[in-house]
């Protein structure tokens, strides 16, 4: 367990890996780590995510080969422009699951089970577009047929929390843990970015024990990235930067617009990104 930089985290990732990204939609995404993956120009990643702008950025940078998800949305803006265009142009592969199936796949992986049974998916076209998914008959008296949701085992997980200590213990301060603990439990290598790295005693004192979502068994590397979820929300440290998200979505709508956005914000490192964001 080590304290790392964003670039050191990305240095441990490889082309072709399956990478889980925590958060939900445009909420508490490990954006500093995602931006670093984009800068490093990793290729052919399979990304597992409750998708938001993390997915959009990875697509725009050419890092993503396959997406495993139940949706991609910017929340206050319903559709993610990079994702929509990439799908319409046939540039990415998609494994589309019900949101609950995704949860169950992570839960199966976290529990080292090959699959978990779930009702979600039965009768829907999720089964048509995922011919690899099988159903299983209950061995008990009910004999019901259920979806055997396979484990979504990850090579690496990237998550962002409000506070962490140098050992990899972490807490969320906002209203929702999302599924960040399961992403970590489902992954071989686990990387936690946080708004503030604090001492263990301060971490314990900064909220109720239930908010301690991750412990050091679940984390391999921790990075302090202030404003590191920007422009997604990281309540209560900050809300979603709606003005910036609108700028992002408008820019993503055209190649020229995206070119300008990229050179203004994304071509430099995380420090220059934060500087450009602050200077708007």
């Amino acid at each position: 367990m080590t304290v790392m930089t964003v670039d050191e985290v990305v240095g441990e990732l490889r082309d072709g890996m399956t990478v889980g990204v925590g958060g939900w939609g445009s909420r508490r995404k490990p954006m500093a780590l995602v931006r670093a993956v984009c800068r490093a120009r990793l290729r052919d990643l399979t990304v597992v995510s409750y998708g938001g702008p993390d997915v959009g950025l990875l697509i725009a940078a050419g890092c993503l080969r396959r997406l495993v998800t139940g949706f991609v949305s910017l929340d206050s803006i319903a559709l993610e422009p990079h994702f929509c265009r990439a799908r319409q142009e046939g540039r990415i592969e998609l494994t589309e699951y019900d949101e609950g199936m995704l949860y169950w796949g992570l839960l199966a992986a976290a529990n080292r089970l090959p699959f978990l049974p779930i009702r979600a998916g039965l009768g829907s076209d999720v089964m048509r577009v995922n011919p690899q998914i099988k159903t299983i008959r209950s061995p008990y008296a009910d004999k019901s047929d259920l979806v055997a949701m396979p484990a979504l085992t990850l090579d690496a997980a990237l998550v962002h929390l409000n506070r962490a200590d140098a050992h990899g213990n972490g807490r969320y301060l906002g209203p929702d843990p999302y599924f960040d603990d399961l992403f970590c439990l489902a992954a071989r290598r686990r990387y936690l970015s946080c708004e503030r790295l604090v001492g263990t005693a301060e971490l314990m004192d900064s909220g109720p024990p239930q908010g301690l979502l991750l412990n050091r068994m679940m984390v391999d590397g921790v990075v302090e990235t202030p404003n590191g979820a920007h422009f997604t929300s990281c309540a209560p440290d900050y809300d979603r930067d709606e003005a910036f998200q609108r700028e992002y979505a408008a820019a993503a709508a055209s190649p020229d617009g995206w070119e300008r956005f990229r050179s203004a914000y994304l071509d430099g490192d995380e420090r220059s990104y934060q500087k450009a964001v602050a200077a708007r």
Binding site: F71, A78, Q88, E99, L122, G123, D176
Partner: protein, 229 residues
């Protein structure tokens, strides 16, 4: 009283008699409808603020993060009202994409929780623009399943024109009521599949004075009018 007010009440009516279940509306008019139902004839309903706080009579009463919502879904104690980019006569719904899934002409949200919702608990739909491109013979990507594919219960489809239900022998879609000022022919023309139409189609009930005041107090700027324009 506007058309939007009638739609709010029609949405509220979807939850009548549900008791202590989680009402999950999508869209402003369904949200106003669920609030109205909770404040009047369905006080047992549970509602969130759209994030993780459960609200009753505008006061917080509990905590429901996303993973707990999946627990509620599996338990079946939920009645969701979702949108539909496409819906067919058995209530199969599509919010994923338009065209061939392998390379869609228009990518939308993805299936979200629709497959799981529809096989676990009651589901209704809200369609702000009733048109043949929404009410289609066959949806492109079955997200929420209909009655011919194992849905628990598709209760009603509320639109800007009418209320539809599935009270037919084969549980296919039927015209339950038309909103005041809308003709049966208009609804039939705006529906891209044969709709069961009873001999006598009633008018959708209009809001009471109390209901109108409650709706107005929760949407004083009248944003609901924009949702059906």
């Amino acid at each position: 009283m506007s058309r939007a007010d009638v739609c709010v009440v029609a949405c509220a009516e979807a939850w009548r008699g549900d008791g202590a279940v989680l009402a999950s509306p999508t869209g402003l008019i369904p949200r106003l409808g669920a609030r109205l139902a909770q404040l009047t004839f369905a006080p047992g309903l549970l509602l969130t603020d759209g994030e993780t706080t459960l609200l009753r009579d505008d006061e917080a009463e509990g905590w429901l993060p996303y993973r707990a919502v999946f627990g509620v879904v599996a338990a079946g104690t939920r009645h969701v009202m979702m949108g539909a980019s496409q819906i067919d006569r058995f209530g199969n719904q599509n919010i994923s994409c338009i065209g061939d899934w392998s390379r869609p002409s228009r990518q939308l949200l993805g299936v979200r929780g629709a497959p799981g919702n529809t096989v676990n608990h009651t589901t209704s739909y809200w369609v702000p623009r009733h048109a043949p491109r929404v009410f289609v013979p066959r949806v492109d990507m079955v997200s929420g399943v209909g009655h011919d594919r194992g849905a628990v219960e598709i209760r009603v489809v509320v639109t800007n024109l009418a209320v539809l239900d599935f009270a037919t022998p084969d549980r296919s879609m039927r015209l339950r009521s038309v909103h005041p000022g809308v003709s049966v022919d208009e609804v039939v023309a705006a529906t891209g599949f044969p709709l069961a139409v009873p001999a006598d189609v009633p008018s959708t009930r209009t809001p009471t004075a109390t209901e109108l005041a409650l709706i107005q107090s929760r949407d004083p700027e009248g944003l609901r009018e924009k949702e059906i324009r």
